[in-house]
Assembly symmetry: C2
Homo-oligomer: 501 residues x 2
């Protein structure tokens, strides 16, 4: 078998078949790793990335035009994420090990011994995002959670940062070897044709994607059209509306405006959680909101293609007779832009949702002015699926509670008094939401539960202890938390040394 | 608004719109019920079914031609299932409440207060199965788990038992009213056109289906084709192969044969877990396997349509030059049949998987004879997705372990030395599997985890305690098990009285 592809040319059919063959072998090895081995894999990858941090950040700056400070932070987040999943795997709750002992009195017929746990789905394809060259790319959250689950990854490289992807991929593969596992737990593929072919390949068991609505929907349709449809976890985009109550606007507009400007222009507005809509009372002082924006310096977008998409979408918004620019940004050079701020009314936005309430990826946000609380709640009720929705209000004001309730029906994350552009990697994070925010409303792509996307449950009935996976054996050799006959059996502190003994 | 439909005519577009409007209202009420209220709902429904048990069983016998004893057992299972979900809801783990307190030292940036829990998806459509007029129909597992999750149900009646469906539906609605909730938490719809329209309706948030591969795939395609695709939980069918090792065949063939005959003819072979393939060594004594089958009396299939489907599929199998009948069943009357048993080789089955390894719903099974262990393992490796796969072997024989490992990659439930036709409602049950067994490999349609199909995660960031759902409030007023800063916080025994206080 030939060596893995290390160029950036599009992956050919023949190369993809070789990738798939290697992924199949890696899958067999990975599926039979212990939780300790999988934790060691993730930590070894993190260590490799740490060691090469400076060079990686340099490459990332060059290819993405994001700032060194931002990229250093993102790399910290990425290695933290790998170690977070290492800890999570070792703790073992993710296996959801459940033991039902045989019960002759169970209705309506005697219950046999039944034991259920999560097992890896098999090889998966991950489509890297453009806007987080570390955290949503080669060694990002999808890869970390897939490897934690025991699934090898075919990583479709984002063309925005090909050299960084190859460098990161090589380090992930070295990390795997450091941990005594096949390098082929991760392989890179290049080009849209190969990406589509991977989604359709019989061996591939799931796909994860971060990117545009158009691209993601096309791949979702492919995954669903297979003779054997596979789960497609697409994170497609979001408007991330921010609702400001009349009381909050009266009390703290300057502070809200400053946070808003920082949040929607962060990373040149290229965040899936960028607040793309600020909903204000009709009498809010817009001069306060736009203060200083007109003088903002130009920043560089991720690629010329993304800049073009931004310019086109911005033109669509500006073409609406219901939209007026409060600040009209400029373009300088092929990828450099300054931010724009547009104004419309909630009534207009409700009439023309298809245009005025759709995402525009880049440094622009729309202010929608509401006449009264009824109109504000009407907008909250009519929203499409969102990754996030934010309220500035107070606990004492009943309107705030009404907004929180309404928004929880449409968004994966509801925020009060803060900005959506930070996405912490932690146990309670939810980065998902109803369509079009994602194609898989019951899952998250960030945080501990992200691992669930790559696992499937298997029950063992009347299987003797010696033939059961360790997680389900009677004496609980892994010391993991389990549910036994409907009651929690707490995990025990078992060290890695115990497990390797 | 007009009264709910109580006839068996196909539901018209206008009626469906009225159904949807009522489901929307019921959804708002149900989403805001406490866990205690939802438990009371499920128990009230179970009580109504218990009270009417004799009449329901009579109706079911009349419409389904299943035996009274079987249907009485199935009704016990159904009311048990409702109460099982009541207990589960009250216990609260299903909410997966997770609390991450703010942490200024969290990498790479301070973590805000984040709290995540499961919330109902909204109105769902459930397609009843034909073969379990109680347990997979109007008040069956899909309905019980959807209501437990807080989702109102539009129940597409199976035409095989319309009067039983109407009677059961009326009792479910009365039960809801007993519990102080809207009757419209469940509404019946009739006809394929209305079923398809419900899957496509913007208000409907998910669909669950038990039935044929053809019908289920068509509905899956509809659900995936929506402008906003929704989860489609289809349980479509399974061959449920049974592998007998050479050692097991030598030691216990008569016992295996007796269990096999009982299992594949149970309920006239109309179980989704019917063992449709028995894999035996080439020298197994087939006279032992078929003993007594030729003299079996005729039993009645669920409907003329299902009988016709059975006859056609059986003819396809018999048309194969590689299949010989060991026992050829007969048909008497429009729905009465006696069992058939066919014989082929594993080599043939591997060559013609599309015919020989596809489900035939009804009282027939295929014996596939293997030449050697390599062929046996080859078959295990090449299987399509299955609900169940069974091994007769011993822990001491390495072949048994190899089969268990291989089968766990293709089946939702792996069984040793028992038959797949019992599906206990319990915590560890898995009734699912890779396609074509189901369209949603990460879920189960039976057992505690079935509730996960109807829930979606929502995170609350920096939301004051007074505006949080009870499950996430700081003092844990529901006393449910939670994960707090990555550590389990055990649930407390809180009584329903406490909750209602």
């Amino acid at each position: 078998m030939s060596a893995p592809v290390l160029h950036t040319d599009d992956t050919s059919d023949v190369e993809l078949e070789a990738n798939i063959e290697r992924a199949t072998l890696a899958s067999r090895v990975l599926a039979h790793t212990s939780v300790a081995e999988r934790a060691a894999l993730l930590r070894a990858i993190a260590a490799r990335l740490d060691d090469a941090g400076a060079e990686l950040v340099d490459l990332a700056v060059e290819e993405s035009a994001l700032t060194p400070a931002r990229l250093r932070g993102e790399l910290v987040r990425t290695t933290f994420q790998l170690r977070f999943f290492a800890d999570l795997v070792l703790e073992g709750s993710f296996l959801r090990a459940t033991v039902d002992h045989a019960d002759p009195a169970w209705p309506p017929a005697p219950r046999p011994d039944l034991r259920r746990m999560m097992q890896p789905l098999g090889p998966v394809v991950v489509f890297a995002g453009s806007n987080f060259p570390f955290a949503f790319s080669v060694a990002g959250g999808d890869t970390a959670s897939a490897l934690a689950a025991g699934c090898p990854v075919l990583l479709k490289v984002h063309p925005g940062h090909p050299r960084l992807s190859i460098a990161t991929g090589a380090l992930v593969r070295l990390g795997a070897q450091d941990a005594g596992l096949p390098a082929d737990v991760l392989q890179l593929i290049h080009g849209e044709v190969a990406g589509r072919a991977a989604v359709l390949h019989p061996v591939v068991r799931a796909a994860a994607f971060t990117g545009s609505l158009t691209g993601g929907r096309a791949l979702f349709d492919l995954a669903s059209s297979r003779p054997d449809p596979i789960p497609f976890y697409g994170e497609l985009g979001s408007l991330n509306p921010v609702f400001v109550t009349p009381a909050a606007a009266a009390a703290q507009l300057p502070e809200i405006a400053a946070g808003f400007r920082d949040s929607f222009t962060l990373g040149t507005g290229q965040f899936c959680t960028k607040p793309g809509l600020l909903v204000l009372p009709h009498d809010a002082d817009l001069d306060v909101v736009k203060a200083g924006l007109a003088g903002a310096g130009a920043t560089t977008m991720l690629s010329g293609r993304i800049r073009d998409g931004y310019a086109n979408r911005l033109a669509e918004l500006l073409a609406s007779p219901d939209v007026t620019p409060a600040v009209l940004g400029s373009e300088s050079g092929p990828r450099d832009v300054t931010p724009s701020l547009l104004v419309t009314t909630v009534a207009s936005a409700l009439r023309d949702q298809h245009n005025l309430l759709a995402e525009c990826f880049g440094p622009v946000s729309v202010i929608a002015l509401y006449r009264d609380e009824i109109e504000l709640l009407e907008l909250a009720a009519q929203l499409e699926g969102q990754l996030t929705a934010t309220v500035f209000g107070s606990e004492q004001d009943p309107l705030t509670g009404q907004l929180v309730s309404a928004l929880a029906e449409h968004a994966g994350r509801v925020i009060i008094g803060a900005w959506p552009t930070g996405v912490a990697v932690s146990w309670a994070m939810q980065h998902g939401g109803p369509y079009p925010a994602t194609t898989a409303v019951t899952f998250t792509s960030v945080g501990a539960a992200g691992i669930e996307r790559f696992l499937r449950p298997v029950a063992y009935q009347s299987v003797p202890d010696g033939l059961l996976p360790a997680a389900l054996q009677e004496r609980n050799p892994l010391g993991i938390p389990r549910l036994v006959d409907g009651r929690p059996e707490p995990g025990q502190a078992i060290t890695e040394e115990d497990l390797n003994a």
